[in-house]
């Protein structure tokens, strides 16, 4: 299996890894479809967990171990938790949420298909001739990822971090309310609810972080 895979890469002699890759891909696609079609808000967030986890497994199968764990850490561990936090703040009901339907299904479908087509085209065009040797040295180890990131892709990396910094500063500016004299600009009473406290404290810490 090792020799044939290395000498003659192709779709016609699928190995176990390739079959697993396709199966996981189908499961991920199914979870993603459920995410956007389910009528229960929190279920959508939970299906998103499955879809993102499936993506992490795909990265793992492509030997990009570091990226896979970071995917779980950032998306499942933080982004979805943030989503769920937001949903819980709105007291997301159990069962269907008919009032959460914006009736833009067709537009959303169009945008989704266009975005997917663009991404698939770009990825296929860029990596058509790239083959990963699954049996050799892992090409996605943290050392390899780090070296390529900080040797060849430093500029995009830094540009991205500046973008994130700008977003952070923007979030602080938008969420600040005490720009005027104290007492005049506060719409909510002084004894804020506990649920409001983390939101009010987060920007202050974000400032330190930046």
């Amino acid at each position: 299996m090792n020799v044939s895979a290395a000498a003659h890469p192709g779709f016609l002699s699928p190995t176990g890894v390739e079959i697993t890759f396709v199966l996981i891909g189908l499961a991920t696609l199914g979870a993603a479809l459920l995410t956007v079609t389910t009528r229960q808000l929190v279920h959508a967030a939970l299906w998103l967990v499955v879809a993102l986890g499936g993506l992490a497994v795909e990265y793992l199968l492509l030997t990009a171990e570091f990226i896979a764990w970071v995917q779980v850490l950032i998306y499942v561990g933080s982004v979805v938790v943030l989503l769920l936090f937001g949903l819980m703040l709105t007291k997301a009901p159990i069962g269907r949420s008919p009032d959460a339907d914006s009736e833009n299904r067709l537009v959303a479908l169009g945008v989704g298909v266009a975005a997917a087509a663009a991404l698939v085209w770009v990825v296929v065009d860029a990596f058509r001739t790239t083959w990963i040797n699954l049996h050799g040295v892992a090409q996605g180890s943290s050392r390899a990822t780090g070296e390529s990131l900080f040797r060849h892709w430093v500029l995009p990396f830094e540009a991205l971090s500046v973008l994130l910094l700008a977003a952070l500063v923007g979030a602080i500016v938008l969420s600040r309310r005490d720009t005027g004299s104290p007492g005049s600009a506060a719409p909510s009473p002084a004894g804020a609810t506990p649920a409001a406290t983390p939101a009010a404290d987060a920007p202050a810490a974000g400032k330190e972080h930046s």
């Binding site: 570091f66 779980v72 850490l73 561990g77 943290s142 506990p194 649920a195 406290t197 983390p198 404290d201």
Partner: protein
């Protein structure tokens, strides 16, 4: 064939550890709390000093009726305990116990793996909090989410500091590179990591999400029987995982006298000492209020961990 056998044996060993150590921590907690409060603790089950109390508790939980509230989201409600518990089992696989491959499975980016999977466990609490159809559960879930978001960042930053010091993300690699002066060098980071981990486990004094005097038992209010027991087990498994991780990252894991032959004993002893500290904190500290909780994370722990990273970077550049 031998490889398969090797893998199976390792996984079975991890499973046994996963089933035994949390119970040991639980029994220790009974006894340590009792003695710190000037009482005996459970004394009858099993005869000698109530050693079988947790087994008896388990039997009791197994006998109870498994109730799902009528308005609850059944499937999410029933799935939540498994989501809360299983990540800790996965984490135990990659924690190195002794030198020369005494570990369930070496993972290249083990540090990231551990932190990522531990974050998933919190999803179980959130699912439980939402699916219970109970306002106290929902409040508990909200507080859990807020707490996770606040404490995940300092934990990651201090772990990154250790990775910088060791120059690797692999957990056995980090312990291999350990020197005794790492502990004072990373001391601030270690304290921050341990504190943030406690908060992520919702152990006292960070147990606002399950504060029994105001929101009953937070996200777990509606659970009974085995599913409730699974949540409790997840908490104790979390203590084991957190203490073992702190040992590996900051206290040098298996390093100590005679570490060649008895390295695993050192890991266990250090983990047990930290677990004792966890129990000690539960008995001796009052619960932090929700705003104090958030304030501690954002205004104390995160600046401290950033300072630790700066210190690590400076020292690393100076010595290299």
């Amino acid at each position: 064939m031998n490889d398969t056998l090797d893998v199976v044996l390792r996984l079975v060993a991890v499973l046994v550890v996963f089933l035994v150590l949390p119970l040991l921590v639980g029994q220790t907690e009974h006894k340590v709390m009792a003695h710190m409060q000037g009482r005996l603790g459970p004394m009858y089950a099993g005869g000698f000093h109530g050693w079988a109390q947790l087994v008896a508790d388990g039997v009791k939980f197994a006998q109870k009726e498994d109730i799902v509230p009528a308005d609850a989201d059944r499937r999410v409600f029933q799935l939540a305990p498994a989501v809360a518990l299983l990540p800790y089992l996965l984490v135990l696989i990659v924690i190195p116990v002794g030198p020369d491959g005494f570990v369930g499975q070496t993972v290249d980016a083990g540090l990231i793996f551990v932190l990522a999977v531990m974050g998933v466990g919190v999803l179980g609490s959130l699912m439980a909090g939402w699916a219970s159809a109970n306002k106290f559960s929902l409040l508990g879930g909200l507080r859990t989410a807020a707490q996770l978001m606040a404490y995940e960042l300092p934990m990651l930053l201090t772990a990154a500091s250790v990775a910088m010091a060791a120059g690797t993300l692999s957990l056995p690699g980090i312990v291999d590179g350990y020197h005794w002066w790492w502990t004072p060098w990373q001391l601030v980071g270690g304290v921050v990591f341990f504190t943030a981990g406690l908060a992520e486990l919702q152990r006292p004094p960070f147990d606002m999400p399950v504060a029994d005097s105001e929101i009953i038992f937070g996200a777990y209010t509606e659970y009974t029987g085995l599913r409730f027991a699974l949540f409790l087990l997840a908490e104790y498994a979390g203590i084991v995982v957190l203490c073992a991780l702190t040992t590996v990252l900051f206290l040098g894991g298996w390093h100590g006298p005679w570490s060649g032959s008895a390295g695993w004993v050192w890991t266990l002893v250090k983990t047990a000492l930290l677990a004792f500290v966890v129990i000690w904190l539960r008995v001796s500290y009052p619960r932090l209020r929700e705003d104090q909780l958030q304030k501690l994370a954002w205004t104390v722990l995160i600046p401290l961990s950033l300072a630790q990273i700066a210190l690590t970077g400076v020292v690393k550049v100076v010595i290299s």
